[in-house]
């Protein structure tokens, strides 16, 4: 199961990096979103089961460690906020520049 999840993380982040390296904002932004999802999955996969956070040793054997899940959901919330902010900026920038080519949107000549 761990192996499967790890492969999934690799696949997701590989796809994400492939997308981020494109020039078009419409590919870069889904790439960033995908990278965020890959990292949330990574946090859950990397967390060892039943370690540390539960003080009760018997419970720790039965239950999963809740902390990576909390980290993942917090990361998801914060990261989604960031991605949405970038999306809003990109949308406005692309409209103002009349192009979704990332170089055209982020370089400025004139005002």
């Amino acid at each position: 199961m761990l192996l499967l999840l790890s492969c999934l993380v690799g696949l997701l982040s590989g796809t994400a990096i492939y997308l981020i390296l494109h020039r078009n904002l419409r590919r870069v932004l889904p790439g960033a979103l995908l990278l965020l999802l890959a990292i949330c999955l990574l946090i859950i996969t990397a967390g060892a089961p039943g370690w540390g956070s539960l003080n009760n040793a018997r419970l720790a054997l039965l239950a999963a460690d809740p902390l990576p899940q909390i980290l993942a959901i917090t990361a998801l919330a914060v990261g989604l906020g960031m991605v949405l902010t970038v999306l809003a900026l990109a949308w406005r920038g692309a409209r103002l520049a009349d192009s979704d080519d990332i170089d055209r949107v982020t370089t400025m000549d004139g005002s």
Binding site: P68, L89, G93
Partner: protein, 500 residues
Amino acid sequence: MDNHLVVPVLTVLFSAVLTTLFSRQRIVSRWLFLLCCLTNLVYGAWLLVQVVTDGRQVLLVGGWPASLGVALVADRLSALVLVLAVLLLLAAFLFNLTPLDRRQHEQFFFYPLLLLLLLGVCGVVLTGDLFNLFIWYEVQVLAAVGLLTLGGGRRQMAGGLFYSMINLLGSLGFLAACGLLYGLVGSLNMALVSDRLEAVYTTSPELVAAVASLLLLSLGTRAAIVPLSFWGTRTLHMPPVAVGMLLGGILTSTGFYGLYRVVGLIYREPLPVPSGALLLLAALTMLVGVLGALGQSHIRQIIAFLLLAQAGYVLLGLGLASESGVAASVLFLLHDTLLLSALMGLCGTVELLSKTGDIRQMGGVVAREPGLALVWFVAFVSLVGVLPLGGFFARLALLQAALSVERYLVALLVVGITLLSLLPLLKIWHEVFWKELPTDAPVPRRAAFPHLVPGLFLVAIVLLSSLGMTYVVEYSTRAAQQILDAPAYVADVLGSAAGE
């Protein structure tokens, strides 16, 4: 338990909410902002004294043990960065009071955004937990994006998008490092991580090294280290001057705060600090900064490139990985951030007076505004290391640190880059201050004394600190000792729980 550590976070958060409510009333939000900054300046000064007399201040929030709750920790470095950030905010506030530009940005939640930026700084420098650090960095990034896009024109969107995209990647890297680190040691409390990492290192050294370098890479993005550094040089000359002058300084100094923590707590024995790689990156950053500055013709963009070169110096001190190196780098961070922000503000004043940012279209400032030229000149000679001024001591300390560990190439680099960084500043001096005003340039406006005040304020602080250099050097040396002494950090944080 030191409950006072929640004061900055709470006061700034509360004031940010209040200024949002009163964002239509300029006068009220100005006073609220000023009150909040002064409160935090006083608190910061008190904290400086407190960490000197009393040592590290620790608060385990809610009384939870360190493995479950979030710890707030303040030491010499935290207090220094906090005070530095508040001083920069005050300078930007002073700049905003001088009616040079039309200050349209004040109606777009300007003060709430500044306070949220300060909230991010307070959180970053006080937290003792890596995940919490990530959250505070995000607070900072969001406030910075808001400030960079004030006005919402095409220039602002271009800068804001560039900055937020790079920082999004930086945050995601940091997040991945947090996740992996939790899997390795079972906690994200910095003290516990530092404590348990040694045992993990003996079983799987390559995993620890990979996670630590991921941390370095993502924090390097925030501190403007070369491969991912161009968010500063591409954006800082685009927003209003008041924003540009504080953003570079605040963002890089908090980025470096994170780097100091990682180098001090995670790269402890037996994990070696990647000294060679850090020095190489620092050298690249310095070269790109200085040579890039030579190639620019926008006055504030030149300073933005010099800010990059300064980040290289600070990293160079850190890369020496010796106590004297880190001490020199803290000294550097303090002085050059103040000086470059002062230069950024003064150059912005010149830009607004000349009605253009292109240095080829400027000229004759010495003849028209001798006072402005004088303040600029003092900041300039201090930055290139002329003897009685602050910048000299920072460079000397770095040089000594490099020589004491027998890194002669590094010493050569420090001297060489300092000489090279004369060139872009001399270019500004010649083009903007010395030469005649070109005939086709727009007719410049005249400056009044209030326009000098923000630059003068920052330069005066540097001059004051040059007078008390003995104390400043001693402070930074002790700060470096605290940064590098991981066992003491662990004992202080974990011991405070046992003491309850």
